[in-house]
């Protein structure tokens, strides 16, 4: 290894290490954002344990499980697309990213049907039936809609980010020797998966 000291911004147009670190720092703020919501959930679950259990039975475990598997699959495909890019197989890499985006769409379609059923039952905050529910159940559904809604927003953003990466690949701006954008999009996508890993058991699988 050379020992000469090279100043930052000394003509090098990119900095992969800092790029990735910046992404991680952003992900930490996301962890704390959802972390705060999980703390709210924790306290209210202590206070309204029975209500949370009753309300949780309204949720569809099957759709939840399917969506979990969909997200896990998409996490694998995006991780593999980075492997493909590192190995120089651009076509495969792009295909795997598109597959990830398809998984994101499947997730959102499932979510749409799931939420529609809740709307029909009048469980959305402010609806007539919602207003007649006991305090704890109302808090449960409020948190359910807020947290899975915020998560779904992240799914949409993640999908858009991946689409942006596909565009960059087409323009040859992301390639075998320069794939940090893809790696950062992957990190974001995995975070979306990570959050769901906690949301799923805490909302759907309360016993």
């Amino acid at each position: 290894m050379e020992t000469t000291f090279v100043l930052p911004n000394s003509g090098h147009k990119r900095d992969d290490v800092s790029s990735k670190m910046g992404m991680w720092l952003f992900l930490f703020t996301e962890v704390l954002l959802f972390g705060g919501l999980f703390l709210v959930y924790m306290i209210y679950r202590f206070m309204y344990h029975a209500d949370f259990m009753t309300a949780s039975h309204e949720l569809n475990v099957l759709i939840g499980t399917i969506n979990t598997i969909v997200l896990l699959t998409s996490s694998m495909t995006v991780a593999m697309s980075i492997t493909a890019m590192q190995k120089g197989d651009v076509r495969l890499s792009r295909r795997l990213i598109l597959l990830t985006i398809v998984a994101a769409l499947i997730f959102l379609v499932n979510k749409y049907f799931e939420w529609s059923a809740k709307f029909e039952h009048g469980l959305f905050p402010g609806m007539e039936h919602y207003n007649t529910l006991p305090n704890g159940e109302r808090l449960f559904f409020f948190l359910y809609f807020f947290m899975t809604g915020l998560h779904a927003l992240h799914v949409i953003v993640g999908g858009a980010f991946l689409l942006f990466v596909v565009r960059a690949i087409n323009k040859n701006k992301v390639r075998q020797d320069r794939y940090m954008l893809l790696e950062n999009a992957g990190l974001y996508w995995h975070l979306v998966d990570l959050i769901w890993i906690y949301l799923f058991p805490l909302f759907y699988l309360i016993h």
Partner: protein, 105 residues
């Protein structure tokens, strides 16, 4: 792929995770998901046990995702260290919130 030297801040000594490793990680995660659903649907009736089991399985999955899919296992240690600091921060928040909650009753 080894490119450039460290002083320029470019990527170096990249460890390429194989497709096979990603596939096995995925299978492991699916098995853990099946496990947590099974435990919840047919499992223990004791409240705390069930929450603890669910959270333990979820955390195992989270660690697997972070280490393998997010490359934390092969990346420089600094990322793991930063992740640890953030988790510690969250634990401090959680403990303080709990203490506050318990002290009010």
């Amino acid at each position: 792929m080894q490119t450039h030297d460290n002083h320029t801040g470019q990527q170096h000594d990249v460890h390429i995770v194989s497709y096979k490793e990603h596939a096995s990680t995925f299978i492991g995660l699916v098995l853990l998901t099946i496990m947590t659903v099974t435990v919840s649907v047919f499992g223990a009736e004791i409240y705390t046990l069930s929450v603890l089991t669910a959270l333990t399985i979820a955390s195992t999955k989270a660690v697997v995702v972070a280490l393998y899919f997010m490359h934390l296992k092969y990346d420089p240690k600094i990322y793991r260290f930063m992740m640890g600091v953030v988790l510690l921060l969250f634990v401090i928040f959680a403990v303080l919130t709990l203490v506050d909650y318990l002290a009010r009753n």
